[in-house]
Structures are given as C-alpha cells and as structure tokens.
C-alpha cells in the first residue's frame, strides 16, 4: 500500500506543479479572480431582483418596474463577464513579465473587440452583449493570451519609440506602448478580415463552433464531471489542493455553462445546463469544503467518543460552516489514510449523481447562473444558487445525509481506534 501511494504521489505532484504553475493557467485563474467581485456584485442583484414571494405581494407593474430598475446591475457585470476576465488575463500576463501591466489589459480588450461582431440584425455600430459574455468567453481567453504575448514580444524586441531625456516619465511611458499596441491590434485586424472571407464569417463564430461548443458539451456531461470530481478528491487525498488544480482547467467551461443558464434565467426561458460552476461549487464542494466534510463534522459531534475526534470537531466545525476544511483534511486525517479512501472517493460521486438526476428530472431547479461566493454556508448557498428556490437548500441537506451515511461506518471504526488508543495510554 505504501509503495503504491508513493508511486501515485510521484505522478500527481508534477501534474499539480505543472497545472498550477503553467503561466497561461495562472493568468487564467488570476483573470477570473479580477472579474470575481463584479460577477458577485451582479449575482447579488439577480438574487435581490428575484426575491421570492415579492411578485405575489406587489402589483404586476410595480414588479416589472422593480426588476427593470435593478436589471442594469447584472446586465453590466455578470452578463458581460468575459470583458473583465479578458482585462484580468491580459493584465496578469504582462505583470509576470514585469511590463506595464495595464497595457496588457487594454491590448487584450482591444484585440478582443476587434474580433467581435459589430453588427446585430443589420444594425451596425452595435456590439451584441451576448458576445461579451458566455459566447465570447473562449475567444476572449485565447485572444487575451495571444495579444498579451505579442505585446510583450514587441516590447522585448524594443520596438518602442525612444524619448529624449527630459521628457516626463509618464509621457515617455505612454509612447513606449504605442508601437507594440499598434502592431498587436493590426495583426488582429488582419485576422478579422481574413475570417470575413470564410464561411464562419467571424472569428468568434469560428472559435465558438469549433472549440467552445464541443468543449462545453463535453464538460456539461456526466462522465467529464465525475472525472473532475474524482480528480479533485484524489489530489486532496495526497494533501494537494485539488480544486485549485482541477479548476484551472475546468473553470472556463463551467463559467460558460453558468452564463448560458443565467441568460436563460433572466429571459425566463428554460435553463439549458445542469453542470455549471455552481453545480460543483454549491452542491458538491460547498458543503463544508472539498469532499463535503460538513457531514463528517456532524458525524464527529454525533458519534465521536475519542478525545482526538472531539477536539477536531471543535477546531474544524466553525471553519467547516464556511467551507474551509483543511483542519479536517489534515487533522482527521484524510490525507494518505487508507481507511477513508472509500468514503472519500465514493461519497462525492454519489452526491454528484443524485444532484444531477434530481435536476434532470426537475425535482430541483437547475442552477440559475448566479455565482455564490464559495465561503457561503450550505443550505443558504443552495437556496441562492437555484435562484432563491427552497429545493436548492433541501437538496443540500439530502446531500449531507448521503455523505453522512456513506462515512458513518468508517468514522465509527476510526473513532473506536482512537478511543482504544487513548484508553490504553491512560491506563499505562
């Protein structure tokens, strides 16, 4: 067993290192971090604009006025989240190269806008907001990577205008970016023109049809989702931060799926996707942290006899409510503990299946595309994520019960072992 664990860890460590330290994935993760406050702002207002029961209390006109007054909050943030992610990626890409990072942000944004359709239903001078949100997400990410790289390349090649001494620093800096940005944007303009002669018409359409659609279709399926869940659990079993590693690959897909649901939610049409960012964050990870350890904490309080587990419950309980569970993972311990490997891997998969089918059958509404911060306590987060629906909270409680039942025999064995050891060492 030890030998086997050693081999597995030797495989997983380099993967974790590569995925976490790859500069594109790092910029992607940090780019989403930049956009997150705006995404959450928009989400909060979707929640407020759709308060339950309010539509039954006030008149229809008042309800419509209320919704249209709050609408711009999310329309200007959540709906066009791609924009903020792109600025974030461009900024962070140039920042690691120690360049003028703000130019990285604007060159990425400019390049993306050049590639974006600027006509809608025959009206020119219009940028469809849908292409700044979910539909443009993948194009935006690629464009941000490439434009920031090109900008940096041109800066490094010293293709800048040198200012004579005595010119104020700020003035010199604004000129130093001129040539690199001009060259970068020109290249994207050429790409746009070339694509206008292809059947795809726009680059956006090309990326969407050839890359984004197949990838999101794959990512919204059950097999890919279970694989992602298992990988998160497996990394954590070796004490490596599973989410941060797996999310760096899956986040663009999950966010794009999420945004499709959000668009449908505010338009009042049927939500297309079950698997979304919130499917993972709220119903699987967000119940006490990775592996849904809130149920384990509850188990410790219910059946724990050993001092070790009782102490751990006191330490890990309060943090667990807010989905921080390192004390449980390292303290139980879960890492490298063969006894918990079975519930650790099985419980999240069972919960993923239950959540998926309860949404597929319509018992529980699908996630409404609202981004709920990951530190939001369970029950509340399920309510919010499903667009203020009580069944979202109920499903989370059901999930806690499922995890508890799967863990119970294993927790009992562990508790007995600790209890015996404690009794033994006291009688000596």
């Amino acid at each position: 067993m030890n030998r086997f664990m050693e081999i597995l860890e030797n495989i997983l460590m380099p993967i974790a290192d590569k995925l976490n330290n790859n500069r594109y994935l790092t910029a992607l993760r940090n780019g989403f971090m930049v956009a997150l406050p705006l995404i959450i702002f928009g989400s909060i207002f979707v929640v407020i604009a759709n308060l339950p029961f309010l539509d039954k209390v006030i008149s229809e006109e008042a309800w419509a006025a209320y919704q249209s007054a709050l609408g711009p909050a999310s329309a200007a943030t959540l709906s066009i989240m791609g924009l903020f992610v792109i600025i974030g990626i461009g900024y962070k890409m140039v920042e690691v190269n120690e360049g003028e990072s703000i130019y990285g942000g604007v060159v990425a944004l400019g390049s993306f806008l050049i590639l974006t359709p600027q006509v809608l239903d025959g009206t020119s001078g219009v940028i469809p907001t849908s292409s700044l949100g979910a539909e443009g997400m993948f194009l935006g990410i690629f464009t941000a990577f490439i434009s920031a790289e090109l900008y940096h390349l041109f800066v490094r090649k010293n293709l800048t205008i040198k200012m004579p001494a005595g010119v104020p620093d700020a003035v010199a800096r604004s000129f130093s970016a001129l040539i690199p940005i001009t060259l970068t944007l020109s290249l994207f303009l050429i790409v746009r023109i070339i694509f206008s002669y292809t059947p795809f018409d726009t680059v956006q359409n090309f990326i969407y049809t050839l890359i984004q659609e197949p990838l999101t279709a794959l990512g919204s399926g059950l097999p890919a989702t279970i694989l992602a869940v298992l990988l998160i659990q497996l990394f954590w079993f070796f004490g490596l931060h599973g989410q941060i590693i797996v999310n760096s690959v899956f986040d663009p897909i999950w966010y794009a799926l999420n945004d499709q649901n959000y668009q449908a939610f505010i338009n009042g049409t049927e939500l297309p996707n079950i698997v979304t960012k919130q499917f993972i964050d709220t119903f699987i990870v967000g119940i006490g942290g990775s592996g849904m350890t809130l149920a384990v904490v509850i188990g410790i309080f219910l059946i724990g006899r050993s001092r070790q587990l009782k102490e751990l419950g006191k330490l890990g309980g309060p943090a667990g409510i807010f989905n921080v569970n390192e004390p449980i993972i390292f303290g139980l311990p879960i890492i490298m503990n063969p006894l918990v490997l079975i519930p650790w891997l099985v419980a999240p998969v069972v919960v993923a299946l239950v959540t998926y089918f309860s949404m597929a059958t319509g018992i529980v509404p699908k996630p409404a595309g609202i981004i709920v911060p990951w530190t939001t306590p369970a029950v509340l987060s399920g309510f919010l994520a499903t667009g203020n629906h009580i069944m979202g909270a109920v499903l989370q409680i059901v999930n806690i019960v499922i995890v508890f039942v799967i863990w119970w025999p294993f927790l009992k064995i562990m508790d007995n072992q600790y209890y015996k050891n404690e009794q033994g060492s006291e009688s000596k």
Partner: protein
C-alpha cells in the same frame, strides 16, 4: 521582531493558524508579526518577511517560491501536515523561529 509569512491557496485556512500562532507567541512573550496570504500574493510579501511557511496542500509551490525566497534571502518550508491539521500554533511557531535562527 520576527516576521512570519504563511501562504496557501486563498489565505483562508492558514489564517486559522495565524490566530493560534499569535496566541502561542504571546504566551511565550515573543515579539512577532504573523500574516497569511493567497499564493499569488506570496512572492511580493516575501520581501518584508523573515520566513515563508507554505500550507501542505500547496507544497507543489515550494520550488517556485524557493526561487523568490533565495533572491530575498529568506528560508522557507512546508508546514507539517499533522501540525496543520491540529492547527498547532505553537509547533508551527517553533518551526518558524528555528528556520529564522538557522539561516
């Protein structure tokens, strides 16, 4: 004054440990400044720290952080998983001081 920097994915779980370490330092009468940051902030904060301790779940960052740590000339290590799980402030504080004094 010993300045101890802790880093993990979001700076959340290490901040639990920070509280316990401060308590331990106060009990021992050691003058310290202890704070926790998210991984991407760590390289910047290293400049004003005497030692960097990494949460065990982010131990794959040791190599990358090691480069910056060598540049600013501070020691670094991964926190012992058992001490991390027990949120054992005293053990981690001792380890940090050992690393600072050992350089």
């Amino acid at each position: 004054m010993k300045r101890i920097l802790l880093a993990c994915s979001a700076g959340m779980s290490t901040s639990l440990l920070v509280t316990k370490m401060k308590e331990a330092a106060e009990a021992k009468g050691i003058d310290v400044e202890i704070w926790a940051v998210a991984q991407d902030k760590a390289p910047k904060d290293m400049e004003r720290a005497d030692v960097l301790l990494i949460g065990p779940q982010m131990r794959f960052m040791k190599k990358k952080f090691g480069v910056t740590a060598a540049e600013v000339g501070i020691p670094l290590d991964v926190i012992d998983p058992m001490a991390y799980g027990r949120v054992d402030g005293e053990a981690v504080l001792n380890k940090a001081i050992e690393l600072i004094d050992g350089k």
